[in-house]
């Protein structure tokens, strides 16, 4: 008597199940491959077209006369720098203070409300924010504010600040909740008052996370175009550091040049896109690195 050989090969129903499983695995891997491929194609086309248009003039000169080759985007570079600086100067203090209110001072019910409305603000389309600032600062002159009836770097910077505010606040809230309560309690037990605890214990502990959030917000703001459409100039011929003047910016330059028929301007748009993408990717990678480090530090203190 010999036993029939037991086959380990799946048949019938279990074979079907295994095949479905295999199919799903291949599908999910393919989806990830598509996403990564899309990013690589994007970066490759921006890189290959952008680098060839980069030269010293690009960074130092103003735009060439229409139709002529050469020229650069120095005014737009300076403008972008100015806009992002103004936006950061406005959004960082307000965002951090609002976050401190929510996680250190507010009654949980108020805190939830503030967080909810900041999320709503984050969900607003950026173009609507552009229209808001346009209606507030550009169209109607506010006597108190004084820089009135024209487009300016301050107007554009404020629009970017509104975009950055919820990002900074949200990131700060998250890192403040990571600060161990033992640290606060130790400080109170030593007789330190609440405001000193917040400023000398809680904030320094969470500084890394706040900087990370701000860096990510800066990366986002540097690439925003829609809010600048109505609040900043389209064309700028000379480098201008005055924040009450209207300034050109890199994203707007790309937008404008991409719709023009001049191939020379297209090349400049690609070069601008390359500069922008390098800036954005480097800042967000740095931020990610900093975040990992500060998380680890907080984890060790626990």
């Amino acid at each position: 008597m010999s036993e029939p050989a037991l086959s380990l090969k799946a048949t019938g129903r279990s074979r079907r199940r295994l095949l479905t499983n295999r199919g799903a695995e291949v599908g999910a891997s393919a989806a990830a491959a598509i996403a990564v491929a899309a990013l690589l194609v994007l970066i490759w086309s921006v890189g290959s077209r952008g680098v060839s248009a980069l030269n010293w003039d690009f960074f130092t000169k103003g735009p060439a006369v229409f139709g002529e080759a050469g020229g650069g985007v120095a005014p737009a570079l300076v403008g972008s720098l100015l806009l992002v600086a103004i936006a950061t100067a406005l959004a960082l203090p307000f965002g951090v203070l609002a976050a401190i209110y929510v996680s250190e001072f507010a009654h949980p019910r108020f805190g939830r409300q503030v967080r909810l409305w900041l999320d709503v603000l984050n969900g607003f389309p950026s173009i609507v924010i552009g229209i808001f600032v346009f209606a507030l600062c550009v169209k109607v002159s506010l006597p108190v504010v004084g820089w009135g009836r024209h487009q300016s770097a301050i107007a554009g910077g404020s629009a970017l600040a509104i975009i950055m505010l919820p990002l900074v606040a949200r990131a700060t809230m998250e890192v403040l909740t990571l600060v161990p309560n033992e640290l606060r309690e130790a400080s109170y037990a030593l007789g330190v008052s609440k405001w000193q605890t917040v400023l000398r214990v809680v904030l320094p502990t969470s500084l890394g996370g706040i900087l990370t959030g701000t860096t990510l917000a800066i990366a986002r703001a540097a690439g925003e175009t829609a809010p600048l459409l109505f609040t900043c100039a389209i064309a700028g011929q000379i480098v201008d550091w005055n924040p009450s003047h209207s300034v050109q910016s890199i994203p707007l330059m790309i937008f404008q040049n991409s719709e023009s028929p001049d191939p020379n301007l297209h090349a400049q748009a690609w070069a601008g896109a390359f500069v922008l993408i390098v800036f954005v990717l480097v800042t967000s990678l740095t931020a990610r690195f900093l975040l990992d480090r500060s998380r680890r530090k907080l984890g060790l203190q626990r």
């Binding site: 194609v41 401190i100 409305w117 969900g123 609507v128 008052s193 540097a222 993408i277």
Partner: protein, 330 residues
């Protein structure tokens, strides 16, 4: 109990203890509390100020066209006739079309990164996908104009047109059109995927390992585990992630206006130019001359604001209900 002879009144009470704090501390606490509350208040006030200013700017058009604006088709600046119907339809079609592509892809990417990928691949691929989110929309749009749109016109459109051309929305004409609704959908898909897929990944990672192991232990294949345990556990979160992505797609102005062709009346086929609310505002605001046109454009922004507000609140509701279910059911 207090020892006899020592009355409660002689023990310094809590209120009295409060008085012993230094004046500087009390003032400092008050100032910091006030400052932070003010900052939070300003953050909230900005939301309402935005709604108010936009509604105010749109008011002349709202008074003139009333709700008829929502279903009027014509957009004719010289005749001062404005209507939003085709723009609303265009917005909905591009965004929902993008989500139709992005939602399954994002869930699949989330599953790949949380369940399937070996740890060595997880980190780098996850970072790459998230980096896609950091690419500015204007750069995606630039790429859309010069790389994606020609590719679509020469390869994708003829292929889809010949395969599915009998369905009117895929009808494909003789001439190759580069700026199309379809291209805008692809661009939006690319912009939405990083947002939804990274949320999905977090959700899937958060599913308790015990549940997954129990399912595998009962003999389920990995796919059966995903279908019966992982996805149902976080269904609400996945829906919220998709709605958040939708909100982003609805409001995207720049990249869409670069590739969609900015043309209405809308045609039936997605291989024709179109326009959306946000992209029309972006495209025409600079050139708008008459007050009616400016007000009409702000009216469009107001509609967009209402739509995105509803989407965001819906997403938050879903998350809340889902959290309630999870904690209430456990």
């Amino acid at each position: 109990m207090l020892p006899p002879g020592m009355e409660a009144a002689s023990v310094p009470g809590a209120a009295a203890l409060g008085q012993t704090r230094r004046v500087g501390d009390r003032v400092g606490d008050g100032i910091l509390h006030g400052l932070t509350a003010l900052a939070a208040l300003i953050g909230v006030a900005i939301v309402f100020a935005i709604v108010w200013r936009v509604a105010d700017g749109a008011w002349p058009a709202v008074k003139l066209f009333r709700l008829h604006f929502l279903w009027a088709r014509e957009w004719n600046a010289p005749l001062n006739k404005f209507g939003a119907r085709d723009l609303i339809v265009g917005t909905v079609v591009t965004s929902f079309g993008a989500m139709l592509l992005a939602a399954p892809l994002s869930i699949a990417i989330g599953l790949f990164l949380s369940e399937l990928a070996p740890p060595a691949i997880r980190g780098p691929v996850g970072t790459l996908v998230e980096m896609l989110a950091a690419v500015p929309s204007v750069v995606v749009g630039l790429w859309g104009i010069f790389v994606l749109a020609p590719f679509d016109a020469q390869h994708v459109q003829p292929f889809l047109g010949s395969a599915l051309g009998w369905i009117p929305i895929f009808a494909h004409g003789q001439d190759k059109v580069e700026s199309t609704v379809f291209t805008a959908m692809i661009v939006l898909t690319m912009m939405v995927i990083p947002i939804t897929s990274s949320i999905c990944r977090e959700l899937f990672i958060g599913v308790p390992t015990e549940l997954e192991e129990a399912s595998i232990g009962l003999g389920a294949t990995r796919w059966e585990m995903v279908r019966t345990v992982v996805v149902p556990t976080v269904r609400g979160g996945v829906v919220a992630a998709v709605i958040l992505g939708l909100g982003r797609a609805l409001g995207e102005a720049i990249a869409v206006s670069q590739v969609i062709g900015n043309f209405i009346p809308l045609k039936l086929s997605i291989f024709e130019p179109g326009d959306t609310l946000a992209s029309r505002v972006a495209g025409q605001y600079q050139g708008a001359i008459t007050n009616v046109q400016i007000a009409s454009l702000i009216y469009l922004a107001l509609i967009l604001l209402v739509i995105t507000f509803i989407t965001n609140v819906a997403a938050q509701r879903v998350v809340k209900r889902f959290e309630f279910q999870r904690t209430g059911g456990a």
